[in-house]
């Protein structure tokens, strides 16, 4: 276990060493501030007075970030820790240590998932601070926090999908392209064929809406949880199998 945790720490550290992820985090913060300022400008144009309104900003921002921004950052992190390392051979640095491939594979996956949590945590923090700064209170704090926590689950499945895609090719740019393409196609299929959206994990990216909105019967929720777990097992299993069989 100690080796596994050491490995997760190492992989997380590698992502932190890349400045681009800090830049993306900064962009996330700046974007939230800009949205608030644009809202104020619109209010001024309509009512003639400047009012900073950040009511329900946490949930509003979550919808955009969980669907578009965070997945893109995750795809990039997956490519950096898998295909880019295979491409430049630096993956051997960890493969030649006394750590099994099983641990390496899931340590990398967990580090990427932890990175997703970091991005969501930063978003929650910033939007909450903006809400407090603009209105003095935080409306629906606990339900917002719950929404953020619930949305981590579909992100984990997305990470496993991206990791699987990264086992197919050694080229990081190709892996990035395939991840985006697959994600877009799955999203579009969910929109064009509504009957299929319930079967695709991308239809649950805003997982919190199922729990915090109109609550479905327990049996239906259980089925959806089972569906996501199934996707996770298939992506994780297939990804590990390909990683384990690979010659470096």
């Amino acid at each position: 276990m100690r080796l596994f945790l050491g490995c997760v720490k190492n992989e997380f550290g590698k992502l932190l060493h890349k400045k681009k992820y800090m830049v993306f985090l900064l962009i996330e913060v700046i974007f939230c501030v800009c949205v608030l300022l644009i809202q104020a400008a619109v209010n001024r144009a309509m009512d003639g007075e400047i009012v900073l309104q950040a009511k329900n900003m946490s949930l509003g921002m979550l919808t955009f970030f969980i669907q578009v921004y965070v997945p893109l950052v995750l795809f990039m992190a997956c490519c950096d820790l898998f295909s880019a390392e295979m491409q430049d051979n630096s993956i051997k640095a960890v493969l030649m240590r006394p750590v099994s491939r099983f641990k390496i594979f899931f340590a990398k996956t967990l580090a990427i998932a932890a990175f997703a949590v970091l991005y969501l945590a930063a978003l929650f923090l910033v939007t909450t601070i903006l809400e407090v700064a603009s209105s003095g209170t935080v409306a629906r704090f606990w339900s917002s926090l719950g929404a953020y926590l619930l949305d981590i689950i579909p992100l984990l499945i997305l990470v496993l999908m991206a990791v699987l895609v990264n086992q197919v090719t050694k080229s990081s740019s190709m892996a990035m392209f395939l991840c985006i393409l697959l994600y877009v196609v799955l999203c579009i299929v969910g929109i064009v064929i509504p009957e299929a959206s319930g079967l695709l994990f991308t239809g649950y990216m805003q997982w919190h809406k199922l729990w915090l909105g109109a609550i479905l019967p327990f049996g239906a929720m259980l089925a959806k949880i089972g569906l996501l777990c199934g996707y996770g097992l298939v992506f994780g299993g297939a990804g590990f199998l390909l990683f384990d069989r690979r010659d470096f």
């Binding site: 100690r2 080796l3 050491g6 490995c7 720490k9 190492n10 550290g13 590698k14 060493h17 890349k18 430049d88 051979n89 630096s90 993956i91 051997k92 640095a93 960890v94 493969l95 030649m96 240590r97 006394p98 750590v99 099994s100 491939r101 069989r245 010659d247 470096f248």
Partner: protein
């Protein structure tokens, strides 16, 4: 003799027909074995299969009594490797690279890392990014990474790659000192017979994917003035050429 490494009938053939076939040998504690062969003869493939980086078609590699393909962590626990180009994170500093490696060996202290950096003469550059390093400096850092865990077996693929004359001598001294003082076993591959002759006490000739001979250095030099001559004799015998 305590066997540190046993390689039994190791066979790995790639789709293009190259690779290694039926490689068998054994190395004991404190031995410095040189794998001598031309480019593309299968030295690196043998080393990769020994360390579990690639899966052999047939055969096994047993390190410290553990099969590397069934008990990877136990087998690799006391092994340090430098195979092909050094595996480095170029966006990190030399120190950060060492810290990454040390993170997977809990008993490695910062003092130990500092000592290793001094040993490979990189202490002045420890806070420099690896992307700014020359080939020789990268090779030195690769060697340092292989030695981080105080391994009992060190696998070095072409360790003299990119090193200047002083660097080559220093690496040779490090190997000899560790083998004599600590009983560290070394498996070194090279296409330079002179380098193997000066560093190793055992030599195995690999040619076109086959291990042609396995001798102590004394045996190899008994009838040949240099290791280069021994290599040529062995290869010509294999080809069935007339030896005068």
């Amino acid at each position: 003799m305590e066997a540190v490494l046993q390689v039994n009938n190791l066979t790995k053939l790639y789709k293009n027909g190259r690779g290694v076939s039926g490689v068998t040998f054994e190395v004991g504690r404190g031995d410095v074995l040189g794998l001598l062969g031309p480019n593309g003869s299968g030295k690196t493939t043998t080393m990769k299969a020994i360390c579990g980086l690639c899966h052999p078609d047939v055969g096994e590699s047993v390190l410290f009594g553990h099969n590397v393909f069934t008990a990877y962590e136990s087998a690799m626990g006391k092994v340090g490797c430098l195979i092909e180009m050094p595996a480095l994170y170029e966006y990190m500093t030399a120190w950060a690279n060492l810290k990454q490696a040390a993170g997977l060996h809990p008993d490695v202290t910062e003092e130990k890392l500092q000592h290793i950096l001094e040993m490979v003469r990189l202490e002045k550059y420890k806070n420099d990014r690896v992307s700014r390093f020359s080939l020789g400096m990268k090779q030195r850092l690769g060697l340092a990474l292989a030695l981080v865990s105080e391994p009992a077996l060190v696998v070095l693929d072409e360790p003299a790659n990119g090193l200047d004359i002083e660097g080559m001598i220093e690496v040779r001294e490090i190997i000899t000192r560790m083998a004599v003082e600590k009983g560290t076993t070394f498996l070194i591959s090279s296409h330079l017979a002179g380098e193997i002759e000066k560093t190793c006490n055992k030599v195995a000739v690999i040619y076109e994917g086959e291990m042609l001979s396995f001798h102590t250095m004394e045996e190899a030099l008994r009838l040949n003035p240099t290791l280069e001559d021994f290599f040529l004799t062995t290869v010509r015998e294999k080809r069935g050429e007339l030896i005068l």
